[in-house]
């Protein structure tokens, strides 16, 4: 069963915090149950694409402009939610102000007939 761990932050980390987080995250990412991962640049670098009156509209910044922003995501393949939550808790502990949303990943192919 695949789960997406969506890692949210509320503030930019200091270099010292980043060092601690990175040192903790690296060995987790190397584990066999990690299928893939992505670290995202700051939300200010985002461009959002939507439509207004039939025209494509680009806006500068993230889709939802809140204090919390998506900092990265990790896909893991584990047996059940308890295992996924344990991995999330381990990562969350690296940065107390973060929050990790755990979402099960659908395994059907879109429009797979």
């Amino acid at each position: 069963m695949q789960y997406a761990l969506l890692i949210y932050s509320t503030e930019e980390s200091t270099p010292e915090e980043r060092r601690v987080v990175e040192a903790g995250v690296a060995p987790v990412l190397a584990r066999p149950y990690v299928s893939s991962w992505a670290r995202l640049h700051a939300p200010e670098t985002a461009t959002t694409v939507r439509q207004q009156q039939g025209e494509t509209l680009l806006t500068d910044g993230p889709f939802v402009d809140t204090k919390e922003f998506l900092g990265g995501l990790i896909l893991i393949e584990v047996d059940n939610l308890d295992v996924a939550l344990a991995v999330a808790a381990e990562l969350q502990a690296l940065r107390p102000s973060s929050a990790i949303e755990v979402r099960p990943v659908r395994d059907e192919v879109p429009g797979g007939g």
């Binding site: 069963m1 047996d79 059940n80 939610l81 308890d82 755990v102 099960p104 395994d107």
Partner: protein, 391 residues
């Protein structure tokens, strides 16, 4: 559909085994209901089978396999249902003499911390208690649609997020068991403060199942003891629509049998070394049943409990014992340290102390505040009467 009478005893067992087989609560409920309906038609005519639980499980399982087969085309396309499940499951009436009792797995699934408290309560009552969605909605004064959606969402989350159907591992067990006990006790208290659906009886039924499944857990024993001892006074608690304080209750209305059973369970719980919060509460409930009441012991146990839980409500109860021992002013002094301004019993207790201390005007104001916050007619009647009795 509500599960009636004798069927109620089988429901939780049957459903748990089916969820264990198919890992889908909706499907399990569906086919269990069909099996119960068939039983309701056949058993009175043909007699009850030798092993009713196994008969119900086998019948429901065969229905489930039929259903899965019918959806096979869809299943193959969407890979929703694992093929190996149907590959080795053939409909059959070769009744195995026993199916493993998986109610414990089911209750831990229903009380999983990834589900909201409301969902945990509703799901536990539905799956283990066999209450219908209507009954649960009525019990919690929630619109039927809201309750129905809540249950469906929870079942889907269990399936889609794969919440495990398992008894937690040792290192998680204490926390997870505590979460289960909270739900059972919450159901009990919901049933106690009002008499809508018999939730107290439902909670006791769940408590009995837990004791049967985990006979060595002292907190499980403690919780059942606590519920039995409190529930034993149920018939004496209200007279002609008015709440009756414990000391004025007609003791002949107390359920002696239940008190004995509660004490026996409490004895078993205390015999294990660590007394948890439910065991302490049960011990206090027991002390309250004895005449004259041993306020020293009661105050001491509330003190232990307060330290353990940090709960101001426990401190409020301790204040009652302190007031009995050292007078109303001592009780009031303790009350003044508690931040419970929106809690109705805080004000009714305070009013009582003020009355005893002869501070009538203050007592009147406190009773009025308690009346504003009163939630049931019984409380209302009781407080109004107290207010009228003031000099």
């Amino acid at each position: 559909m509500a599960v009636e009478g004798v069927f109620r005893d089988h429901w939780g067992r049957v459903l748990a085994t089916l969820v264990g087989m198919f890992r889908d609560i909706e499907l399990a409920e569906d086919v269990a209901q069909e099996a119960f309906a068939i039983a309701a038609e056949r058993w009175p005519r043909d007699g009850e089978p030798a092993n009713p639980t196994a008969w119900l499980i086998t019948t429901a399982r065969n229905r489930a396999i039929d259903q899965i087969r019918r959806q096979q085309v869809l299943a193959e396309k969407t890979r929703l249902i694992a093929h190996e499940l149907t590959a080795h499951l053939e409909p059959t009436m070769d009744e195995p003499t026993t199916f493993r009792d998986e109610r414990l797995e089911l209750i831990f699934t229903c009380c999983h911390p990834a589900l909201s408290r409301e969902a945990q309560v509703a799901l536990t009552l539905r799956t283990l208690g066999g209450l219908s969605t209507e009954e649960i909605a009525l019990a919690f004064l929630t619109p039927f649609d809201t309750m129905s959606k809540r249950l469906t969402r929870a079942k889907h989350k269990i399936r889609d997020a794969r919440i495990p159907f398992a008894v937690p591992e040792d290192h998680q067990l204490p926390d997870r068991l505590a979460a289960v006990l909270v739900i059972v006790y919450l159901v009990f208290n919901e049933g106690w403060s009002d008499g809508r659906v018999d939730l107290a009886a439902e909670a006791i039924r769940l408590g009995r199942a837990l004791v049967e499944l985990m006979p060595d857990e002292s907190e499980t024993l403690g919780l059942l003891a606590l519920m039995l001892l409190n529930d034993a006074r149920r018939d004496a608690r209200v007279s002609e629509g008015v709440l009756v304080p414990l000391d004025e209750q007609d003791r002949s209305l107390w359920n002696e049998q239940q008190i004995l059973e509660g004490r026996e369970l409490l004895g078993r719980a205390v015999a294990r070394q660590s007394a948890g919060t439910y065991v302490i509460q049960a011990a206090i409930a027991d002390l309250h049943l004895q005449q004259p009441r041993d306020w020293h012991q009661i105050a001491a146990l509330y003190g232990t409990l307060a330290k353990r839980t940090g709960s101001p409500v426990v401190e409020l109860n301790r204040a009652v014992a302190i007031a009995e021992l050292d007078g109303p002013d001592a009780g009031l002094a303790l009350l003044d340290t508690l931040a419970l301004d929106t809690y109705r019993y805080y004000h009714s207790t305070r009013a009582e102390f003020l009355r005893r201390a002869g501070r009538t005007a203050d007592a009147r104001a406190a009773y009025a505040r308690a009346l504003d916050l009163a939630e049931t007619d019984h409380e209302h009647q009781f407080l109004t009467r107290r207010l009228e009795e003031l000099p």
